[in-house]
């Protein structure tokens, strides 16, 4: 508990400084904020047009699909905000700058994560909330306390799944020279997650449910709130899958960290 307080204090200290310093580059902050609004809006627009032109997708109507998509946007925001620099891990590993993370008396993943706070991700998060509220109202989803708690648990699990998949992909840079294709593949796979898993055939459905569990980023957990009455058992596995994938990601990270030899001086 004391350890947790220690880490939280350091985390908030570093993050507030970071945000403060980021805001000092006012132009950059405003422009990238606007950029993120537009890029999120275009993605949403494409999705919107696509769905609006078909009456339903594998039995899911437009509002339900928006709900799932909003869930997806919220679930990927923590990665975007806190872990986005895992894309850069490969440069630290190749150039040897990664060794500095060994020198502080801190958990190394914590130290690495503490150096990131992407404000653009916050924009995405806010848009996600707006869509989520819109879809909830249209679908008449009831938000009482148990539902909200359930939402928090499933949302955190979903976020952990996205984070874990990207962390594992990034950690391949400890063993291979160019991990970009792996990260890129992971991102592309992740982009399947706002679609109903039922549109995929057997093989992909199995893979997205049990092997690379992107089904748990949005589709399965979102169903809990949609009351479709056809929830498969996979839906309730969500928290378990979140914890398990993160444990696996942390294990892979530690493997990489413990075997890293750095570059010659």
């Amino acid at each position: 508990m004391q350890r947790l307080r220690y880490y939280l204090r350091i985390y908030f200290l570093i993050e507030t400084q970071y945000i403060k310093s980021k805001m000092q580059y006012r132009d950059d902050f405003i422009i990238s904020g606007i950029g993120m609004v537009f890029s999120s809006l275009t993605t949403i627009a494409v999705f919107w047009v696509l769905l609006a032109s078909i009456p339903d997708l594998a039995g899911w109507n437009f509002d339900q699909l928006v709900f799932i998509y909003a869930f997806y946007m919220l679930a990927i925001s923590p990665f975007q905000i806190l872990f986005d620099h895992f894309w850069q891990l490969r440069f630290h590993v190749i150039e040897g700058t990664f060794i500095k993370y060994y020198f502080r008396p801190l958990n190394m993943m914590f130290y690495y994560v503490s150096e990131m706070f992407d404000i653009k991700g916050v924009v995405q998060f806010v848009l996600g909330i707006a869509m989520f509220i819109y879809a909830s109202i249209r679908l008449g989803v009831v938000w009482n306390l148990p539902q909200v708690l359930l939402l928090l648990v499933t949302m955190i699990s979903a976020a952990l799944v996205t984070i874990s998949i990207m962390v594992i992909a990034a950690c391949t840079s400890f063993w291979i020279y160019n991990s970009y294709p792996v990260l890129d593949l992971a991102r592309r796979l992740r982009e399947f997650s706002p679609y109903p898993m039922t549109i995929f055939d057997g093989f992909f459905k199995l893979m997205f449910t049990y092997i690379i569990p992107i089904g748990f980023v949005a589709f399965y957990p979102a169903q809990i709130f949609l009351n479709t009455g056809s929830n498969s058992t996979a839906v309730y596995l969500s928290p378990l899958i979140g914890a398990a994938t993160f444990a696996l990601a942390y294990w892979v990270w530690m493997k990489g960290v413990n075997g890293y030899t750095g570059t010659g001086s």
């Binding site: 220690y6 204090r9 350091i10 200290l13 570093i14 400084q17 970071y18 310093s21 980021k22 700058t97 060794i99 500095k100 060994y102 020198f103 502080r104 008396p105 801190l106 958990n107 150096e115 413990n258 890293y260 030899t261 750095g262 010659g264 001086s265």
Partner: protein
């Protein structure tokens, strides 16, 4: 008990024997043909509290591998390291709490933040109490005038300023040992001198052990009482700096670019100096690249002035330089038995 104890330490890396060409590269994909490289090979030494030890050797000698083992990044293949009674690799965090590190050009301060914020963050990370913090910051103000740098972002600092801040930061939590890797690399002479003064003062006032790796013999001369030299992973010398000082203190390399250089020039030059200085260790001539010739002079046996006059009386020189002996030459001299 000594602060740092290293016994029969070795680190081996397994490397794939690569074959040539595209076909070779393809075959390598399935090859189990590894060779073992002994980056550090059976090294033992111990270091007491408060010492400044120069840990030196040519490139690829195994210096940074040893440092990486002492800082807990690498696991030794054989042998053991104890720092403060702790084994660094399996106790990285507790070891890190009592250690400071400055790694050459790479700062560990928070790049985008004003430097004072880095110190505040470090205060929290190392749980430095308020009184110690104030006292250390006052000391840094005395030594490097830190206060005027407080609002400066680390990324906008000059290399010298940043290095001073990095060094100060590594001493903030009063660690038991600080590792300084090439602290003066790339800096001009006056800044080098300043950094050496700061390091010396910090060591003196805080009684903190310092392990210094450097290529700059000036750093060694200015700071170390003791040096450990390694080469090809093996311990070559461990002792007081004075003994080695004689080695690099008396030698000078007179570099000359001789006008109208041809095939016979080198032989004529060799004959000329041998004629005057019979002792083979007094003056040694060797060819260098781009028509430069190195004349390595032992000043105890051959006064620099005499050698210069002799050479200039017989040869026309386009350009000259006089430099101190290099690390590689020191190591070579030791191999040749200079310290025996």
């Amino acid at each position: 008990m000594a602060l740092i104890e290293i016994e029969h330490l070795s680190k081996h890396f397994k490397l794939l024997n690569r074959r040539e060409g595209l076909k070779g590269a393809f075959l390598d994909l399935f090859s189990g043909n590894y060779r073992t490289v002994k980056a550090v090979d059976d090294i033992s030494f111990s270091i007491d509290e408060g010492e400044i030890v120069g840990y030196i050797g040519p490139n690829g000698a195994g210096k940074s591998t040893t440092i990486k083992m002492m800082t807990g990044i690498l696991q030794p293949t054989e042998g053991k390291i104890l720092i403060n009674g702790i084994e660094p690799y399996s106790n990285r965090i507790s070891n890190a709490r009592r250690m400071g590190v400055v790694f050459g050009q790479r700062t560990q301060l928070w790049w985008d933040l004003p430097v004072i914020e880095s110190f505040k963050i470090l205060k929290e990370i190392y749980a430095v109490d308020d009184q110690t913090y104030r006292q250390q910051m006052a000391l840094f103000e005395d030594l490097i005038g830190l206060k005027k740098l407080y609002p400066v972002q680390v990324r906008t600092m000059s290399l010298g300023q940043r290095m001073l801040c990095d060094i100060a930061a590594s001493f903030l939590h009063q660690p038991k040992v600080v590792f300084l890797d090439e602290p003066t690399i790339g800096l001009d002479v006056s800044v080098k001198a300043r950094i050496r003064d700061v390091i010396r003062e910090l060591n003196r006032t805080q009684n903190i052990t310092i392990i210094l790796t450097t290529h700059d013999l000036g750093d060694i001369e200015a700071l170390c009482q003791r040096i450990i030299i390694i080469d090809k992973g093996k311990l070559l010398f461990d002792g007081p700096v004075q003994r080695v000082n004689q080695l690099f203190g008396v030698y000078r390399t007179f570099k000359a670019q001789i006008f109208d250089y041809n095939d016979t020039t080198l032989d004529r030059l060799k004959a000329l100096v041998q004629d005057r200085f019979a002792d083979p260790d007094a003056v040694h001539v060797e060819e260098n690249e781009n028509f430069w010739t190195d004349i390595i002079i032992n000043q105890e046996k051959a006064p620099l002035r005499e050698v210069l006059n002799l050479v200039m009386s017989k040869f026309e020189l386009e350009d000259i330089r006089i430099v101190e002996i290099s690390m590689e030459n020191v190591v070579q001299k030791i191999y040749d038995g200079a310290l025996l």
